[in-house]
Subunit: 174 residues, 2 copies
């Protein structure tokens, strides 16, 4: 199956010049959705992963399914003000200004083997913030996994030597 | 397994008097998370469901896993400005003011058998908005399913004769 065929490119969303990669067309197609999950599961099933972390909110979709498939826990990384118990947080740069993500301090235990999952890596700011928090809590990052990687934005460069895996890559705005 | 044992109640979040039901303690516990999903799957596996709709953003967690388990499509209902293609929207009341949810018009086809999933039903405003959109697009609601129901807020009353199912119920702020 060519997963690319199930991604819809929407020109000029959310603004002029951006060719937005819409994953909802893949999600509503049962075989495509299952195929993507199977690719991830096959890759990680013997990795000893104990926690999957996904970032709000599209990261919840692939992250939760993968956690379930891998029989491990799911940890949501959330926007400020959403998580009710004690959290740590990490700021990251936006095009204009900053935002931050939070995770519960008791969500990751020292020695957890962690898979970080998101639907898409662009410049890598979000996933970098998640990685920093997981490390601070004593977790070991096994890999960062994405459905889509916009390689021309060089997001994996932000992650240093951490392994990065993606199912679909785009080399340019197309 | 007593699923309630894996829900953390956080007093006075997000404000005084609210006993917040935190599902992150269940999500990080693989057996509890899998048990909840199995309960839902067993209930719906022979229902002929073709689409699962989940509301941003905690509804994505259980909604996406259930869609995967039931071999059907997942449809995210999202906050304004998030979905890139043509949408319909539905307003709903908040304690102060209004908000709205959107779904892509091509996400539901006439005749789709739809399960609406969220982590929690309180006053029912969110799920009512989702139900209205699904009906407008010609989908048939099979049931609305929740991990948690705050029965004292009478949310299911907003859904008329639609079937509602929940795995955990709370009869009072406790």
């Amino acid at each position: 199956m060519k997963l690319e065929d199930h991604i819809r490119t929407v020109p000029h969303f959310p603004k002029q010049g951006i060719m937005f990669k819409d994953i909802t067309t893949l999600l509503k197609h049962p075989e495509a959705f299952r195929f993507a999950i199977k690719e991830f599961r096959d890759r990680y099933k013997d990795s000893g992963i104990t926690k999957v972390v996904g970032a709000e909110s599209r990261g919840f979709i692939f992250g939760a399914v993968l956690a379930h498939e891998l029989h491990c826990g799911f940890v949501p990384a959330r926007k400020p003000g959403k998580l009710p118990a004690k959290t740590i947080s990490q700021e990251y740069e936006l095009e204009y200004g900053k935002d931050s993500l939070h995770i519960h301090v008791d969500a990751i235990e020292k020695g957890d083997k962690v898979l970080v999952v998101d639907d898409l890596i662009a410049t890598g700011g979000t996933v970098k913030a998640v990685v920093e928090m997981v490390k601070k809590l004593g977790g070991e990052i096994i890999e960062c996994a994405f459905l889509i990687e916009l390689t021309f934005l060089k997001g994996r460069g932000k992650l240093g030597s951490l392994p990065v895996f993606s199912l679909i890559t785009y080399d340019s705005e197309e």
